[in-house]
């Protein structure tokens, strides 16, 4: 994403997280490796490529499960929250290079196959019709967002606060 002619070179990263609910006591080592190790290594590699390619705006999209946790979604919450905080480390390290990096957290049902992730509900969700994060991502990829870095912005209609 991004066009050097119209704005800073930007990269949007969406971790490849497991989409299946799994009771924690049933998760095998192979499943844990696929759910935790593989996406984390992939995100780290993507971040390195983005930095080396000269990207100045990086946005990572992840589910709010990162912050809420989720029954039967520990294997999703762990890498999602790890990536969310990795964004903060990257922001601290790469800010001096003019690179901003932020996280956009979207509703679990927009990210995962099953919507039954435990978490608080609010009436705000019913009042808001769109959960599309595209406009926010566009802003975070623009010159105008140059002072915004290391942040997590939630686009879920107010379900997770």
């Amino acid at each position: 994403m991004g066009d050097a002619a119209t704005g800073p070179v930007s990269v949007v990263i969406r971790p490849d997280l497991d989409r299946v609910a799994r009771p924690f006591d049933t998760i095998t080592d192979e499943q844990w490796d696929a759910a935790w190790e593989a996406p984390m290594r992939a995100v780290i590699a993507e971040l390195q490529r983005a930095f080396r390619s000269g990207a100045r705006r990086i946005v990572v999209v992840l589910p709010t499960t990162a912050m809420s946790g989720g029954a039967r979604y520990a294997h999703v919450a762990a890498p999602a929250e790890a990536v969310r905080v990795l964004v903060k480390s990257a922001a601290r390290q790469w800010g001096a290079h003019g690179v901003t990096i932020n996280a956009v957290a979207i509703a679990p049902e927009e990210f995962l196959a099953s919507p039954d992730v435990a978490g608080p509900q609010s009436l705000a969700a019913a009042a808001l019709s769109s959960r599309d994060p595209a406009a926010l991502i566009d802003f975070l990829c623009s010159e105008a967002s140059g002072d915004v870095t290391g942040q997590t912005i939630v686009v879920d209609g107010g379900v997770w606060m």
Binding site: W36, F51, G69, A74, P79, E81, V85
Partner: protein, 256 residues
């Protein structure tokens, strides 16, 4: 022995030194039978012996938290010896060496930290689960994380995500295991661990810098400051506290 944890059985990983040792000593002082799980018996045995000589109950079990079989053996030996397992504290960690995210050799940093912090949490929690469930409302899972797991780190970039993952695990298991009575929480300490003391020796200005940014003006003690928070979470007093991270760092981090 009497105390707030009299009769309880607690397994503490990384208890051969530092924060784990402090937690083990504090839990034992309140009557818990403590398993000092250490990667090397050479560090764990003296801690266990010291607890016993002080009137407590402790045994060292050599444990590599990065290996399922080793953790399984430790859990089984614990139950065989003491009959129960009520409290698991996963503290063992290695690999926090300064690095930058753009470094080419990140894998060696990542592998050590991921294996000890996250895989270790996975093994400890999963293998202890049947025993914590049997303990019901006395079941406690405590993961030792870090303020960096909340705020990121400018110096050790990959330390933060593995510590963040532990916080998410604790929240998720709080939700998943709450109906069993098990609580699941994190401690995020800053304490005078051997690693930090070594860093102070290499860079004397570091202690002053940390103390300057700490409202309480000092670095935490592994037993009195950090062990006491673990004791609270392990005790009946914290039976309604779950899914939380208690930052015990003298007020240095106030971002929660």
């Amino acid at each position: 022995m009497t105390g707030r944890l009299a009769g309880r059985v607690a397994l503490v990983t990384g208890a051969g030194q530092g924060v784990g040792e402090g937690i083990a000593r504090r839990l034992a002082a309140e009557g818990a039978h403590v398993v000092v799980a250490a990667r090397r018996a050479g560090t764990g045995e003296p801690v266990a012996a010291s607890i016993v000589s002080a009137g407590g109950s402790a045994v060292c079990i050599e444990t590599d938290v990065t290996q399922r079989e080793s953790v399984a053996s430790c859990v089984q030996q614990t139950v065989d010896r003491f009959g129960h397992l009520h409290v698991v504290v996963h503290n063992a960690f290695t690999g926090a060496i300064s690095h930058r995210l753009e470094d080419a050799d990140l894998d060696r940093h990542w592998a050590a930290m991921s294996r000890t912090a996250v895989w270790g949490s996975f093994f400890c929690a999963q293998l202890a689960h049947p025993h914590l469930a049997a303990a019901g409302a006395n079941g406690r899972l405590i993961l030792v994380t870090s303020p960096s797991g909340v705020e990121g780190s400018a110096n050790i970039a990959l330390y933060s995500p593995v510590k963040a993952a532990q916080r998410a695990l604790a929240k998720s298991l709080a939700r998943e295991w709450g109906h069993l009575g098990i609580t699941s929480n994190c401690i995020a300490p800053v304490a005078a661990s051997p690693a930090l003391i070594t860093a102070f020796e290499r860079n004397p200005a570091l202690r002053a810098a940390i103390e300057d940014r700490t409202p309480l003006g000092r670095v935490g003690d592994i037993t009195d400051d950090i062990g006491s928070v673990a004791l609270f979470l392990a005790s009946d007093d914290a039976g309604y506290v779950t899914g939380q991270t208690i930052v015990c760092d003298g007020g240095s981090f106030l971002g929660l």
